[in-house]
Structures are given as C-alpha cells and as structure tokens.
C-alpha cells in the first residue's frame, strides 16, 4: 500500500489487511454474537534495517499485532510477507490442512494424468508434477516429501522472526540456567554441534553486555537483576540471527538508569546484525529513540503513520495530537496544553460503521459519522493519516 514507487527496496516484513477478531460473547448454540475487533484491517511494511514503532494506549491492538507476526495468534484474515514471501499459510496453518491442500490441489489432478501429460505442466506446479512422476506416482511418498519440505521452511521462517517480551521476570524459565535458556532455540532448530552452541552462546552473551559470559552461563534467572534478565531475553531472541524481531515493551519494566542501556544495546545490535524491530510501546519518547518510522494505533486501526520525527513534530491526526500533548514533560518550567480529546477509549466490540475516533474527536463533522472508518491517505510525502477532516475529504 505504501511505498508503491519503491517496490524494489528490500522489504523485510509486509503486512496486508491484517485482522484479528476475538469472540466476545456467544449465543446459546455457540455462534458468536459479538467480536472484539482487536486488529482491524491494518497494513504496513518494514524495510531491512529500519524499525517501526507501533504506539498506542493499552487495548489498541499493538501487542496482538506483534503476536500475530511471530505466529502466536492466527489472524482472522490478511496476509503476512517475510522477505517478499507470503508466509501466511506457513505461519498459521497446521500440517493437516497442508496435507488436505496437497491432496485437493495436486494429487487429484496428477493421479488422473499420464506421464506425458505430467511432463507438459509448467512452472512451480510442473516441478511438483515431475517429482510426482519421479517418485513412481507414489501418493504417500509424495505427501511425505512435500510435508518434510514444508516443515523445513516453517523452521527457517521461525528462525527469521523472533520476539522479546515485556516482563523479563516472567519470560525466562526459572528452572533453566542462562546457558540453557539462550541455547534452547538452537536445540529446537538443531543448529550446530554442542561445542559450536557453547561458543555461540558465549559470543552472544558478550555482545549483549553480560561479560564475562562464563560467570553468567550457569546461573539461574533469579540470580540476575531485571536489566540483566532483559539482556538474556535479547540474547535468546538473537541467537538464531533473525532478520526481524518483535519487541513488545522491552524496557517498560526497567528503571530509568538501566533502561537507556538496554535501548542503546538494542539499537547497536540492530546495526551490527542488520536487523529490524517492530517496537511495540506506549511511550512515545522511547519510540522516538528506537525507530525510524512510527504507526499510531487506535482501537485496532492505524490512524497515522510516517517517519518518526515527522509524525512527532507535525502530528496531524487529532488522536496523535492528544496523545502527544498528554505526555508529561520532564521540565518543571515547560507548561504543556491540555489534550483536546473527549471521553475515554470505548471497547472495540462490534464497533459502529463510522470513524473509530468519532465520539472522542473534537473536530468530527457529520461526514465522519455517516461514512466508514477513513482510509489512510498520504497528506505529505510518506506521512499517512486516516482522517476525513485532515485530508480534506469531510464532504
């Protein structure tokens, strides 16, 4: 959707029309009456080496988005591309549905064909047909091979996308040593020999600032401070060299004096490993330091997005403006205005067909109520806003 002119750039992650609805209330016989629209039709993309900050108040759907991207939730609809590859079926579909898919798409077709016909098929499907013929039209062998190949691709995908969680006191298994925690992804993905794993763990611990690594490897999480634990969580996320990391409020549990250390470390690692973050946070000041681009979410929708400095200095959407005005300024001599916003965040359960921000917006006009939620419009280069009034389409 964005950056149509620069399709050729190295996109690391692209999300198209992602939606996630949670059932909120069921009828007597199990059909769902209400849905929580946690993430409602959002699209964005991240270029390699860039980072996107996803900001918003609690309940706006930012964490749900992150969890979808690492495969912890299955989206209701929408597509996820990692390095230009549509990974939606790999991330969210189980093996049984993959098996069904092979049977219905390929096997049914191939089984009735002669060898000669199989050879005449072209493209990717042709490769499958060839393989099918090579395997002596053996149905189960073909499925086996197909699924094995798929398993490998799922494994590779999961290696490329990792996550850092908010609370380092809960995200580390208290019964495992630091070595086991950090090496676990390598064990799961069967990477390297034991010796190589040890070396790799020592390297990564040193690069996250836990030096000397030998003194940390065989300790348990409870022996470490909050900042050190978060460093362990970062080490675990980076051990498989991911190209993309979802960081869900990784510094919000840490003290100020320790927080900046973690922020700087994460930025340095992103550079060293040429890695991108989806940085989820409620703190706009932290987002400013951790991202090149920012997307502001409200009730499951992205309402404004663009380059971080641009959005923070020239906010256009009334919600972004209110959010920015509400941030306390660490300077007793500066006085900030009162945020111009009404009411409080409604629950995103079956939201009415109008702008999501309508009932809190000080500038809302009739058009905002009568029409659907406004689409994102580019109001200045790279700066997109979803607001009829701002984009001058208020009828």
């Amino acid at each position: 959707m964005q950056n149509e002119s620069v399709v050729a750039t190295d996109t690391i992650l692209k999300v198209e029309n992602l939606r996630k609805l949670f059932p909120a209330e069921r009828r007597l016989f199990g059909s769902v009456r209400y849905f929580v629209h946690a993430v409602d039709d959002i699209s964005f993309e991240i270029i390699r080496g860039d980072s996107l900050a996803l900001v918003g108040e609690s309940g706006c759907g930012k964490t749900t988005t992150g969890k979808i991207l690492v495969g912890l939730y299955e989206p209701t609809s929408g597509k996820v591309f990692v390095e230009q590859e549509d990974v939606t079926p790999l991330l969210y579909e189980g093996e049984s549905s993959a098996r069904k898919y092979i049977e219905s798409t390929y096997l049914e077709k191939f089984l009735s064909m002669s060898e000669g016909d199989l050879k005449r098929i072209e493209g990717v499907e042709g490769l499958y047909a060839q393989r099918f013929a090579d395997l002596g039209k053996n149905r189960s062998k073909f499925i086996e091979e197909f699924l094995k190949d798929r398993r490998e691709r799922v494994g590779q995908l999961r290696r490329r996308v990792q996550m850092i969680f908010q609370d380092p006191y809960e995200s580390l298994n208290p019964r495992m040593t630091i070595y086991d925690i950090v090496a676990e992804p390598m064990n799961i993905h069967d990477v390297g020999t034991i010796k190589e794993r040890e070396e790799r763990v020592a390297d990564i611990l040193a690069s996250v600032g836990l030096t000397p690594p030998e003194t940390f490897m065989f300790r348990f999480p409870h022996e470490l401070s909050g900042g050190q634990r978060q460093r362990v969580a970062i080490a675990r996320a980076l051990i498989l060299n991911p190209s993309f990391v979802v960081a869900d409020e990784p510094t919000s549990m840490l003290d100020v004096s320790i927080r900046t250390g973690i922020m700087k470390l994460m930025m340095k690692l992103a550079q060293d490993y040429n890695m991108s973050y989806l940085y989820i946070t409620h703190d706009l000041a932290v987002a400013r330091y951790m991202s090149n681009n920012i997307a502001v979410m409200y009730l499951g929708k992205i309402v404004e997005t663009g380059a971080t400095e641009e959005v923070l200095h020239h906010p256009l959407h009334p919600y972004t403006k209110a959010l920015l005005t509400a941030v306390p300024i660490p300077d007793p001599e500066e006085k900030r205005g009162e945020p111009n916003i009404k009411g409080s965040v409604p629950k995103p359960i079956n939201p009415p067909k109008r702008c999501r921000f309508y009932n809190r917006c000080p500038y809302a006009v009739e058009h905002c109520e009568k029409s659907d939620h406004p689409p994102l419009k580019e109001v200045s280069p790279g700066h997109w806003v979803a607001c009829y009034v701002v984009s001058g389409n208020a009828g």
């Binding site: 005005t325 306390p328 300024i329 300077d331 001599e333």
Partner: protein, 335 residues
Amino acid sequence: MLVLLSVKNLKMHYKTKMGYVRAVDGISFDLDSGEGLGIVGESGCGKTSVSMTILRLLPDNAEFKGGEVLFDNENGEPVNLVSLAESEMRRYRWKGISMIFQAAMNSLNPVYKVGDQIVEAIQNHFPDTPTDVAKKKVAELFKLVGLDPTRMEQYPHQYSGGMKQRAVIAMALSCDPRIIIADEPTTALDVIVQDRILREIRAIQKKLNMAMIYISHDIAVIAEVSDRIAVMYAGKFVELADSVTIFKRPMHPYTYGLMHAFPSVTGKKVDLVTIPGEPPDLLAPPRGCRFYPRCPKGDKLCEEKDPEYVEVDKGHFLACHHPVQPGEVVQFNAE
C-alpha cells in the same frame, strides 16, 4: 510557625534471613501545608517504605531503627507518630495523613458498591456521622474528582481504570486529611488518563490547600506535580531542592544522570546517559557513598566515607563529596 510534617533521620530496616535490608536509612525532610513534595527514585530504593513508615503500615519483619516523624496536630505540640500506640496512630491515619496506594485500582473491594466503601471509611473515622450525611459528602467528593455521583451505586468492575483511580482519590479525601501521600498514583494508566488524573489531583490540592507527597519513578510525572523534589537512592535522600533547581542545576551525579537518561518526545534528541551498573544490594550497601560504585566522579574519599546530607544552598540539600559544578558535563562511561 510549625511545619506540618517534619521527618528527622528516619530509619527503618526489614529483617530477613540474610540480614537487615536497609530500606529507609536516615531520611529527613519537612513538609509545609499546601506544598507538593515529590520523591523520585528507582524501584527498590525505599521510596514506598518511607511512606509506609510514616503511616506505620509496615509488615511484621519491619524494624524501626530510629528517628522521628513530627506531625503538627493543630493544638500546640507536634506529635511524634513513631512513638504512638497503634490505637492512637489510627486517629491520625486517614484523618491526618491519608494515602493513595500504588495500583489503586486493586484497592477497592469488588463486592461492595464504590459509594458504600467510601461511606464506610468516613463512618470508621467519624462514627457519629449519619449515613445520609456521609452519602451526601461522598456525592460531593465524586463531583470534586470528576465522577458522576450516580456511579456511587455501582461496583468497581463497572468502572474503567481511570474512574477507579478517581474513586480512590475521593476515598483518600473523604476524611479531610491534611496530607495525602500518593504512591505512583498514575503508573498503570494510559497517558491521556494519566494527564487528566494529574490535573485533577493538582487542582484539588490547590483548592483545598493540602500538602501532598508524590512518590514515583517517573521524573516527568514528578516534575509536573511537585514544588520540591527529593531524589532517593539506596535508602537515602541524595538531593532535595525546588523542582526547577533539581532539573536545571542538579548537583548530585546521580540526579544529573537521571535527568539526562530521560528521553524527550519533542525536545532536542540528545544522546541519553546510561548510568553503569545496578543499584546496590540494601542488605550490604557500600561502606562509603552508596552511589560510589556507579559514580564517574567517585574517589578514595567517596569509597571510605559516606557524605553527609547537608544544606548547601538555601533549601538545597545534598549528600555528595564532589558536587557537579555549574556547566560541568559528567561523563558516564557505561559499557
């Protein structure tokens, strides 16, 4: 004239299997009526323990180790709260000094109507109050904190986070206290709600000319509500001054570091300071200055001798052997 609250060399340690945790280790400050004092510090520095010691709401393993909390009870002699019997102390809690607790949303009882809980608080401290009078008072308090009085008949689960916070503030105000201690009153709230609550608290404080002690880890929040700020580190105050001085001319290297570790949303994007290391273990704090192991200005003297907490300028208290000079740039060489 007497000061409203005077804390002198207050010490309170927690007894544990490993020894004493020196959570409050010689804290002194004065609080005047109508004043907002902010206590800022990192988690585990003892800032909540200070308020709990003043109100004497301490767990069984807490041991009082000395000092005084003098509260002006408006009839001549100030009372020393630490020497009172528990039954007498109850007269001062809530009526004299009340508190807004951390995670206030959880301090409401889920099975009682919110209005009834506040009525109960009033009748506990003023047993002669008839219920209808108390209810009227609660309705007024609700209006004061920006809640619709019809909500008195609702239960906590029908409230949003911000509304619960307002209800808890109404409860803290219910017995007309002279001091309110607010411990992280907005930490769990979203910024827009936080902004409203802070405005509300500040307005009420001004309107009722009440003294407040704000406790928070968030310097930005403290900056907005306090007239004076105390910076606490490892069980001690390291610096106390009016809030502009603390921000514009911090003298303690720790204060300096904190001020420069805070990212700003719209101001200049400066390189943030990282203070190396971690706060000390309060079971065995460093022999000399407690900040010495992390301080770029520390030397032999700091290692040996704990600096005294003295008034270096009018109203500016400091505990440091080598204060930061005007215009000096302190280099924290973290990792």
